[in-house]
Symmetry: C2
Subunit: 441 residues, 2 copies
């Protein structure tokens, strides 16, 4: 029996910005979607925490019994847009176990339980798609898993969190300090009441884990990702960055490292970094997202667009829904990776990066040389030093600020150097330590 | 019987830059590819025009009998990289008829025979993939057909020809005229001995046809694409463009047009156009490609990377090969679009665009007003006029140059206006007519 034209039943879990847009597209684009799929999509129900008449969806479609909704025989695809790890995980597992294909935008969940969920999908022989979990509307999951499946990805670097990019862009454009830029972002709705997940880099770390997993065919969880947030980035850092021809961006970086013996490891990390203005990520402003992929044969690719918001995220969700529905109509599910490479994760200490260190020092002869010596002792080569006088509130010149930019060295050698500098007699304080990314050496 | 681990046999047709890279990747990445596919890829043979020992491939793998190679029982996937429409079309049809999946980078063929080839693939229930036919390594086909399958694409605008972008970038950067920029491009290997396909826009038109077909679910062939090349773009045009805050780029534009009655039509066109410097396509330099997609829910997305060259194109080819091979291992073929929308093609006369017209006029009072009147008569609204004196070789001032930039009007009204200006008493000559793209109105 051909399944052609037999409707594909859909359940939506969650009716926030994204869920509302998804329901709108399913209704308003019904004829187009049916033509592309080969069968009409039919919305069987929408799971919400509280059923009420003012949700913009016919009340008879609403239910707070998620378990019953995802188990219905006439549901083929479950679209999970509820948010946190639980109860989303439980609902998705239930859906997979009862043979539904699942589409989710849940990055925290996918960064934590990807192995468990992938196994459940494998066992049930159904699709589990999550394009919307990283970079909203920008296609990155599918290009990495499919278009680049025959290439060797060397590095993925992205601006994948709109809130922090909005804050950092404002600091760069207006000279504001972190606290006031955050306050503005909150007032405009770009930052949540509790901004921790964004500003401390947890959201970006979840996305880095997902990107590293698919780019390197290795299971990487959020816990494997080294993470620093943007809360310590100062207006003075932006001044120094400008003087160095750089902007400061919160980057999610996934890298394939090969040692001298040819052994490969994977690094996934999130931190604010100086990025030279000529690098394509340096000028990605406001709430936009961008991901740069470097692969052996393809060279450098960039993907750019809106990384969040109801409609852009719904676009990515609906792409997954159409693909899962096409698979149902034409015979089962999409093909998947056969075997994971399961490369080991490299600890941050092993990662070669460049450092930017800003410190206040005593204003006397020989300081610069003794500071430089601390770098030299640990074989960290200095690329650039800037020294400028600092002025206190009374207009009195006292001490000097030294900014050092290093060449690449292991993170271990660099943090050892910084620790030694903090104890150094001539160093009054370390103002900040950031990395420099996007340059050749 | 599980097909797992049974090798997937591959035949490569053509051993130029791309074919050589494809063979290299198949050999050097064999273990990785096998892990991702679930079975090893095995190269059964390489079709070439002349078998000889110096091709870098074991001579026993080479054959000039393409027909026999694509029909072999132990070949599952045929990779067509031979080039022109024939004999590629014949070889691909033969491969599809004998049940092979086909991966091709042949844009001219895909822009001409896509219907015929898609039907043959459909009949044989095999895959026909062509990611490498547009924009080299940059994933655009898969994002458009899959990631955006649930969205409504409104517009695709791209720089999809590296040769012309190299020439135009050089003209912009150095002030060179077209002939000398072309000569430089040829000397450096960026332009072919006969550059017609590139500089006259045929190559870009083929890619526009493919992009329009997949973006709008409608069969568009290269003959449906309105086309102008870059041979008439002058150094003076770049000067004027700069004064207007623009660069000049050869654009491939695919647009969904909706009239007042809600009827939809598709426009596909290729021409050099002024692009405001703040538009993301304005700064895509050298031989790079970029494609901007605007969709209803996703908003504006941009894809950027290397659009040509052996390795980048091979990356796209190998992505398709891995997907086709995974499909073979896991059961048949990938899902495809069920039904085409088959929107009608709008002729260029109906397309609303903005014009840039440069003309030499007699230097006497009233000329500007009578020139402007020609636009007004045809309801073409003028956005900006620049008038400057022209100076002949003897340093004598004679006449003036007027540059007019219009608001949007139909191409028909605009070309009628230009025709009238050409006959106008006060107009000595029309220097150039270009369109202006990438602005709101």
């Amino acid at each position: 029996m051909s399944k052609k034209d037999k409707p594909i039943g859909v359940a939506v879990l969650g009716l926030g910005n994204v869920g509302t847009e998804v329901v709108r597209i399913i209704n308003e684009s019904a004829p187009d979607l049916a033509a592309r799929i080969g069968a009409p999509l039919e919305l069987r129900g929408v799971g919400v925490r509280t059923v009420s008449a003012d949700r913009g969806v016919p009340i008879e479609l609403l239910t707070d019994d998620i378990d019953a909704l995802v188990s219905r025989d006439d549901v083929d695809i479950v679209i999970e847009l509820m948010g946190p790890v639980e109860p989303a995980r439980k609902a998705i597992l239930k859906a997979l176990e009862t043979g539904k294909s699942v589409v989710t935008a849940n990055k925290a969940l996918m960064a934590q339980s990807t192995g468990e969920l992938a196994q459940a999908a494998e066992k049930a022989r159904v699709d589990l798609y999550f394009e919307a979990a990283v970079a909203g509307a920008i296609p990155v999951i599918r290009p990495l898993t499919q278009s680049l499946a025959g290439d060797t990805v060397l590095r993925v670097a992205g601006i994948v969190n709109g809130t922090t990019n909005y804050i950092l862009s404002a600091m760069n454009d207006t000279g504001a300090d972190y606290a006031s830029a955050l306050a503005d972002a909150s007032a405009l709705g770009y930052a949540e009441a509790d901004p921790t997940a964004d500003v401390e880099g947890y959201d970006a770390a979840a996305k880095a884990a997902i990107l590293a997993s698919i780019a390197f065919h290795t299971r990487v969880t959020a816990d494997d990702v080294y993470r620093e947030g943007i809360t310590k980035v100062s207006a003075a850092d932006f001044e120094s960055a400008r003087a160095l021809g750089c902007n400061i961006k919160l980057l999610a970086i996934c890298e394939r490292l090969t040692n001298d013996e040819g052994q490969q490891r994977v690094s996934a990390r999130v931190y604010p970094a100086l990025v030279p203005l000529e690098h394509p990520l340096a000028t990605v402003g406001g709430a936009f997202n961008a991901v740069v992929v470097e692969a052996e044969a393809a060279g450098r690719l960039m993907f750019y667009g809106q990384g969040a918001g109801g409609a852009p995220t719904a676009s990515a969700v609906m792409g997954d829904v159409v693909m899962a529905a096409r698979n149902r109509v034409q015979g089962g599910r999409g093909p998947r990776e056969s075997k994971y490479a399961e490369l080991p994760i490299a600890p941050i200490g092993f990662i070669p990066t460049r450092y930017y260190v800003s410190m206040n020092v005593a204003d006397k002869p020989g300081v610069l040389s003794s500071v430089a010596a601390e770098f030299g002792k640990r074989e960290v080569s200095i690329a650039e030093v800037r020294q400028e006088g600092t002025v206190d509130e009374d207009g009195q010149r006292h001490g000097a600020r030294i900014v050092v930019v290093t060449h690449k060295a292991t993170d271990a050698a660099l943090s050892e150097t910084v620790a030694a500098l903090a104890d150094h007699d001539a160093v009054e304080c370390i103002n900040s330590v950031l990395r420099l990314e996007g340059t050749a050496e």
